[in-house]
């Protein structure tokens, strides 16, 4: 395998770059020299905002949003900024762009204009090109980040960073396995090395850019040690390519103690790995409000959103990504989106300065770190010390396994399940190399539920758990 967790040479990068920029006509407009000179005010700089928030112990609030047509997208972002009072802006990229199907984007843009409603589920940044993306940034007063789900985001990264967007979400694992069906990890990890190297280059030329691996993966009952292992790996990949400002993330599971513990474990353990590899990175964290299925009822959605916001603060997250009361039904209107932000801001401000210290949290931190270490140890072992090679091999063997993921490069053998307090545990391990004692811990927790519900642990309980939140509870209990 060609892959290695090794900083790309300038030669290799530039060679690939030529090809990348020719993938679509707008690639021609990318000019690195010009882009570095383009001045971005501090208030639109993702890294600066995150740094300040971390210093002050504040949790910033960021929505998701994107529509097909530039004017409408600007209107949307301004609304979220002015009415919603967002702290950071996103631009969610549409699904065709994510699959590099730019021709279909053209159709989507045209029809969106004709019908005066967005036919795309996001903003097709590549089709719009550098100039238009810059116009979006200039129209707002906050930093913009691209949020997507693109296995090969090389051209996208070129265009958005040239436009001055100072953060890019994604990673070679997290934007492949949950988002694609047959893209190999060799390819996606290499393609994201490109994205990271691009950011590294900008850093070397004096422009700060933030990178954020996508924490929640499939958003559906992911055990914290799985998503933390992936986040740490992607953090290492990014750091190796010269990325200096990294935000690692985690998606709300619903059990407050486990969620607080998971984010704390992630931050501490990632820092340990960065130190071990001597990477100097500025690390911040992001907490995603519930990424699984939502109920249709808006009042119920608000409750989930608020629980997420509160947990984010108690976990000490640098930012929180917001869901909306329309989540179950479809891409939210700008009004619904703003409502999600407002509820989140209120909750964040109500809990600002509050801390929870508890032995239970400490225990969960230890458990999550230990499980994560089981996985990462095996990654390094199979990769003979190289985490990139190790990642590919662990997925091949099902050592790393993401529940419910669509990719054929994912074993799909593990099954998660909630315990009796709603914490997500391992039910089936597949080949995930969790140690004996930790398996006992998981099993013990699940047994309590089994006893409480008077049913033996079974696949139906997993299904019940998937539906539970949207049906009004955390745990899929028998009535």
């Amino acid at each position: 395998m060609d892959l290695a967790n090794k900083k790309w040479s300038e030669e290799r990068f530039m060679k690939v770059r030529k090809e990348v920029l020719s993938q679509w006509p707008t690639g021609r407009d990318v000019d690195l020299g010009e882009a570095v000179k383009y001045r971005i005010p501090d208030r639109k700089n993702f890294c600066k905002k995150l740094r300040e928030a971390k210093r002050k112990g504040i949790t910033l609030v960021q929505p998701r949003a994107g529509v097909a047509v530039v004017e409408k997208h600007i209107e949307l972002l301004k609304y979220l900024q002015n009415v919603g009072e967002a702290d950071l802006l996103p631009t969610t990229i549409d699904s065709y762009t994510r699959q590099n199907r730019y021709k279909e984007c053209e159709i989507g843009i045209k029809e969106s204009k004709n019908r005066n409603r967005s036919m795309l589920n996001g903003f097709p940044a590549i089709n719009h090109g550098v100039r238009e993306c810059r116009r979006v940034l200039e129209a707002v007063d906050l930093p913009i980040q691209a949020r997507h789900g693109t296995p090969d985001a090389r051209l996208l990264a070129e265009i958005i960073h040239a436009a001055g967007w100072s953060s890019n979400e994604g990673g070679g694992i997290s934007y492949n396995i949950p988002y694609a069906k047959d893209v190999s990890l060799e390819k996606s990890i290499a393609d994201w090395q490109y994205c990271d190297r691009l950011v590294g280059l900008y850093e070397e030329m004096g422009r700060e850019i933030n990178r954020e691996p996508f924490g929640p993966l499939t958003g559906t009952l992911v055990p914290p040690s799985i998503s933390n292992a992936v986040a740490i790996l992607e953090g290492l990949f990014a750091a190796e390519q010269g990325v200096k400002n990294i935000t690692l993330g985690y998606g709300q599971g619903g059990n407050i103690v486990q969620d607080i513990a998971a984010l704390r474990a992630l931050e501490e353990q990632a820092q340990e790995y960065f130190c071990a590899f001597d990477y100097r990175v500025e690390l911040t964290t992001v907490f995603h409000q519930w990424m699984g299925e939502f109920p249709e009822d808006e009042s119920r959605a608000y409750a989930i959103i608020t629980l997420g916001a509160i947990t984010a603060v108690l976990a000490g997250a640098t930012k929180v990504i917001v869901k909306t009361p329309h989540e179950a039904l479809g891409v939210p209107t700008k009004e619904a989106n703003a409502r999600g932000i407002k509820a989140t801001k209120q909750a964040v401000n109500l809990t600002y300065g509050q801390k929870l210290v508890s032995k239970e949290i400490d225990t969960e931190v230890e458990v999550i770190k230990a499980e994560t270490k089981c996985i990462l140890d095996m990654v390094f072992e199979l990769g003979k010390g190289d985490p990139a090679i190790g990642t590919v091999r662990t997925f091949e063997t099902g050592v790393l396994d993401i529940p419910f993921a669509p990719s054929k490069y994912n074993a799909g053998k593990i099954l998660p399940m909630r315990d009796n307090s709603g914490a997500v545990r391992y039910f089936e391990y597949g080949n995930v190399p969790i140690s004996r004692d930790l398996k006992d811990y998981n099993r013990g927790k699940l047994e309590l539920r089994s006893r409480a519900e008077k049913r033996s642990l079974c696949f139906q309980m997993v299904i019940d758990d998937i539906y539970a939140v949207s049906k009004g509870a955390l745990i899929g209990k028998l009535k």
Partner: protein, 138 residues
């Protein structure tokens, strides 16, 4: 003999959870499910249906692009010789929240026999499909 059905998620759509549950539910209900998974093209559905001689095609679309992805689907089935195959679609079919009767109409006009709103339970569709198949056999 168990009725064969083709199940999949159309277009560039990666939402896999519902698809896995539908497979489980329809299998349990006695169907022989050919699950082509996420990110399947119209051709993928049609080929699978022809190969397996399926009675119905169940299309999921969660991500909002179904209107674009399903264009001409029924016609292509016809061309491929799948003349009276049952076609259902469900999920979050359009971008955003829209009037459901409009959406349903739009997709019926495209040739789908049944169109399901977000959050439809598999049980509902299973009942419908059994009924529709029975009618067809008469």
């Amino acid at each position: 003999m168990r009725d064969k059905i083709v199940l999949g998620v159309i277009g560039a759509d990666c939402h896999a959870v519902g698809n896995k549950i539908l497979e489980h539910a329809f299998s349990n209900a006695g169907f022989d499910v050919v699950n082509i998974g996420v990110m399947s093209s119209q051709e993928d559905f049609i080929n699978a249906a022809i190969e397996t001689d399926a009675r119905a095609i169940l299309v999921s679309s969660l991500y909002g692009h179904a209107e674009i992805d399903c264009r001409g689907f029924r016609e292509k089935c016809h061309e491929a010789g799948l003349r009276d195959i049952i076609m259902y679609i469900g999920g979050n079919l359009v971008v955003g929240r829209q009037n459901w009767t409009d959406v349903e109409k739009r997709f019926k006009r495209m040739g789908f026999d049944r169109v399901y709103p977000p959050g439809t339970s598999p049980e509902k569709a299973i009942k419908d499909l059994k009924r529709d198949l029975k009618k067809l056999k008469k």
